[in-house]
């Protein structure tokens, strides 16, 4: 279990493992798109589904601002009421 943020962290590392993305030197400042993790829309959709399955909601579907960096995902769960 643990806090929503630590669960989100576990989901992200599982996602990166499943999609064979490099996790070397990833910080909260690493971007999700382009030069960062380089997610495309299909990969982002996969991550959003995994987060939704684990945490009940996800920052990509919530209708707010689209997350830009890894840290934005954690921030979403800090702000969101826990399940």
């Amino acid at each position: 279990m643990g806090t929503d943020q630590s669960r989100a962290r576990a989901v992200i590392s599982q996602f990166l493992q499943r999609t064979n993305k490099s996790v070397d030197g990833m910080t909260d400042d690493t971007g999700l798109w382009g030069d960062g993790l380089g997610l495309d829309s299909l990969e982002a959709a996969e991550l959003s589904a995994m987060l939704e399955d684990e945490l009940g909601s996800d920052p990509f579907s919530a209708g707010g601002e689209m997350p830009e960096r890894v840290g934005d995902i954690f921030a979403f769960y800090e702000a969101a009421p826990s399940e």
Binding site: R18, S41, L42, A45, S48, A49, M50, D53, F60, S61
Partner: protein, 459 residues
């Protein structure tokens, strides 16, 4: 139906027609009982009625008697919930039900099957005209509908069948399903023996294969998969079947191969049929899909299949007369000279027409149209996977993503799900990226409208 039983009873009255957990019944006995049922229906002025009955021999007695009397029977699945039955019987206007179940009825008049065979059959007014039959279907929308058929049209598909009294057919479908009715008709037309265990799960079918000298089986691909898996896990030696028939869903290539290996003497046929348009095509070469030589063309104007805008169209030979509550034929079908869309998406690859899923099942992933079937085929061909169900899952980023539910071969508790995930990834690697499953969940059964099954076409 009744004519075929009369034929079989005249040829060999003591030959066993049907074997159920309640015993064996000969063709002579079936005909005798059917005549009593007909007389009793006419004596009670019953012109249409519901049947809720698990035993196939009783179902045949009731259906044949109704055909003789010109009354319209309609079967409901034997284990239907009492409240659901009352609701659906009301919707279809049934006021009489023939059943042994003590919990059914509500406002309906209840008749026990034995009451209809209890009296001598001296007065039957032979039905000169219609021999109606109503077959319920869940349809693709999930809403119950009922198709109105006539035995005289249905029997066209078995016209000219040679008697093969030594064949022993397993009834793997419910007799209330269209495919079950087709099996009943076929068995009676060839004066063979029907083996009808109840319940009708694949493990019951396997038991019948091992102990009842079954020679021919018609079942869905899902049923075959479970039957083969059950045989593997029990390490039993399968009997040498003469005939293996698949229908109700598209048959994946790997399953066809496995069936050919498991039953090397058998002819492997795939039937293309539905409750609405009847039995249209039968493919006997054991390859997936349908040969393009079965398609209508200027040089083959009598054939009843064609491909239009990536969808299979059929011209029904022994189709339904209409849905319950609708009088005439659908005018749009008449306008298209009998051709109607099936909702089955197909692609012509070389010499084959291959199934790509149902029209309503196409998943739109960011504008890319994904057909679930090729994805499902690749995943179910994995040894670690017993069954897979591919469907669209809503997603705000791409509209939808491809999702899959997996029943692992080893059972949910024993499965190494992370390694199955990797196998799935390699299995779909040749497909475009939008087709790759983005949501993979592991389950121990599929829940579709309360039934544990994968469903493609109509029952």
């Amino acid at each position: 139906m009744i004519r075929l039983i009369e034929g079989a009873a005249a040829a060999s009255p003591s030959h066993t027609a049907v074997v159920t957990p309640e015993g064996s019944t000969s063709y002579g006995e079936l005909l005798h009982d059917a005549r009593r049922v007909a007389a009793a229906l006419q004596g009670r002025n019953i012109t249409r009625f519901a049947i809720v009955e698990p035993d196939a021999a009783w179902v045949i007695r009731l259906l044949a008697g109704a055909a003789l009397a010109g009354a319209e029977p309609c079967q409901y699945q034997a284990d239907i919930e009492a409240l659901e039955f009352e609701e659906q019987a009301r919707a279809l206007g049934h006021s009489v039900v023939v059943t042994r179940r003590p919990d059914l009825g509500g406002p309906l008049e209840i008749i026990r099957p034995q009451e209809l065979t209890g009296q001598a059959s001296h007065q039957i007014v032979q039905s000169a005209g219609a021999q109606p039959l109503m077959i319920r279907t869940t349809g693709t929308t999930g809403l119950p509908k009922a198709a109105r058929h006539d035995w005289q049209f249905l029997a066209r598909t078995v016209a000219g069948i040679r008697p093969m009294p030594n064949q022993r057919w397993l009834l793997a479908y419910g007799p209330h399903q269209f495919a079950g009715i087709q099996v009943l008709l076929h068995v009676i037309a060839c004066q063979a023996t029907l083996l009808a265990p109840f319940p009708r799960q694949p493990r019951d079918g396997l038991e019948a294969l091992l102990t009842d000298r079954v020679t021919c089986v018609s079942a869905t691909p899902t049923y075959w998969r479970f039957l083969l898996a059950e045989a593997r896990s029990r390490k039993v030696k399968l009997p040498r079947l003469q005939q293996v028939t698949l229908g109700g869903e598209a048959s994946p290539a790997d399953l066809l191969e496995e069936l050919k290996t498991s039953f090397p003497d058998a002819r492997v046929s795939q039937v293309y049929a539905s409750t609405e348009f009847g039995s249209v095509s039968s493919v006997k070469d054991g390859l997936p899909g349908i040969g393009v030589d079965a398609l209508f063309s200027e040089s083959n104007p009598t054939l009843n299949l064609r491909v239009k805008d990536g969808e299979l169209w059929v011209r029904a030979v022994a189709g339904m007369i209409g849905y319950a509550g609708e009088s005439g034929a659908d005018p749009s079908i008449a306008a298209a000279e009998g051709w109607q869309a099936t909702g089955d998406l197909v692609e012509i690859v070389g010499e084959r027409v291959l199934f790509r899923g149902r029209k309503s099942e196409v998943i739109n992933v960011g504008g890319v149209k994904v057909h679930p079937l090729p994805v499902e085929d690749r995943i179910t061909s994995l040894e670690s996977v017993a069954l897979a169900r591919v469907f669209g899952r809503a997603n705000p980023l791409t509209g939808a993503i491809v999702a899959v539910e997996i029943i692992p071969m080893s059972g949910l508790a024993e499965a190494d799900v992370e390694s199955i995930r990797l196998e799935i990834k390699s299995a779909v690697a040749d497909l475009p990226r939008a087709w790759h499953p983005r949501s993979v969940t592991f389950v121990d059964a599929f829940e579709t409208r309360g039934e544990k099954t994968v469903r493609r076409m109509e029952e």
